[in-house]
Symmetry: C2
Subunit: 287 residues, 2 copies
């Protein structure tokens, strides 16, 4: 998926919002914004939108002199989600279709995305209610179940902290023994890195690799050789969130399932769904 | 008033909105936005915000190859307001305080501002209702009335088309024989130029001069010598709209009355009023 004009507005807005959120003073805000504008002026619109997010957040980290500005928020959301983990594991176990419930919860967790906007605790509960109430086409769920059962290995592309706890509940159903979790190689917004995979107990459950980038997505041209080998060979790929969708939506040659909430108008339009829609679909196929 | 960080977001957003509104194709939109971003990256934040509006709209006119892209809209709003002219002249005549009613209507007309956003016909009626229902401090109205009566000449800084018809009704009360109307020297958004002052019949009623600029305001450093002489010598200055306020808010040495609607959060905050507030105040004095 390429960059849209609206993506430019969005990353300019984000750069100011984030600089303020992270407590930057006026002159730092000005330096951040002006560097972002200068980069924007020479942006290649054929690139996928997460590469502008990568650019903005590299500038933010440099100008603020902080290697991981969201560290505290990442841990807060991980702890919050871990406080809900046992309750939702039980909810999945008791439900009529555990895989479907786990998928919906994992998608609901995708609301915890500081790249889109600031998230309050209430947003998560609302997203869970909404996701659980959303009907997923039974044929889609049957196909997912069949493909999961048949797959000898699954590459799971992690997205955000907090959300990762719900991914853990889904991975428990997919079969941890055949799942490899791919995380980001370095801090980017509130995305999961190896550190957070360890924090929520996923690192002792599945193999964890990183994708070699600090982009909020999977830009294959930037990924490590190790990641690319897994990406090319995996029997099934579960891709969580907008960023991976935006960078992999044209990779029709790979068996990718996209699980996400459509959180911005550009992605919603690209998917042909309303904003906020719960998406569970194999590549090239719509619910 | 200086540039704020939010002004940058606003003019980037405007540049896309306007390019689309004026029917620019994707590649023209991209050229407009990238030139705006490049200019924004080297912006002097000490300048008043209308200078960024001037920059954006110069780029728009160049890239679209149109000298006056809003011409049709300007004429449409002038005609619409002229259709209401007789009715509101009568309303002013019959009201308990004609000057106050005329001031409120002239401020309501200030909603017709394409620099802020697109305006529908309904917005004007809503703004008129709101302005007429707004209480203006009687001491402020008495002071304005006294200063108008005592002034040997009045310089009236025109703002937008459509709005100008309501200015005409106010100028009829101020005394056309002592009013000079200052318009923009060239097309900028939907601001009044000499052409529109003629179209609504003001040119035959008062002397019309231009301020020497195509900025949506009065940046004194860019104004013509003729305008500056009038600005320095006028016994009273009536300044319509945000753009003039943003460029003249520090000119405490001149007897300026600001009449405007506070249409953006930055100006509202600078004035210490809520968004949408009806402002009628001499410089340095708040309602």
């Amino acid at each position: 998926m390429k960059m849209y004009m609206d993506c430019i507005l969005c990353f300019v807005r984000q750069s100011l919002e984030v600089a303020r959120y992270l407590g930057a003073d006026e002159s730092t805000q000005e330096r951040v914004m002006k560097r972002v504008l200068a980069e924007g002026a020479k942006l290649d619109m054929r690139l996928p939108p997460p590469l502008s997010g990568q650019m903005v957040h590299r500038i933010i980290r440099e100008e603020l002199g902080q290697a991981d500005p969201y560290l505290e928020q990442k841990d807060r959301f991980d702890r919050m989600a871990m406080g809900m983990e046992a309750e939702y594991r039980e909810k999945i176990r008791r439900s009529a279709n555990p895989l479907e419930t786990a998928v919906k919860l994992a998608i609901a967790g995708n609301i915890i995305d500081f790249g889109i906007g600031l998230v309050g605790d209430g947003h998560l509960h609302e997203a869970i209610e909404h996701a659980l109430a959303t009907a997923i086409d039974p044929r889609i769920m049957e196909r997912l179940e069949r493909e999961v059962r048949g797959a000898k290995d699954i590459l799971y592309l992690a997205d955000n902290t907090g959300e990762i706890v719900f991914d853990k509940l889904l991975i428990e159903l997919l079969g941890p023994e055949k799942v490899t979790l791919a995380v980001k190689a370095g801090p980017i917004i509130n995305d999961v890195t190896r550190r957070e995979a360890e924090l929520v107990g996923l690192a002792e459950m599945v193999e964890v690799i990183d994708n070699g980038t600090d982009a909020p997505g999977t830009p294959l041209g930037q990924c490590s050789r190790e990641f690319l080998e897994r990406f090319e060979s995996a029997a099934l790929i579960v891709s969580k969130g907008q960023g991976h969708y935006e960078t992999l939506s044209e990779e029709g040659g790979r068996p990718i399932w996209f699980l996400l909430k459509a959180k911005c108008s550009v992605v919603a339009e690209h998917l042909g769904v309303p904003m906020g829609a719960v998406i569970c679909q194999p590549i090239g196929r719509r619910l």
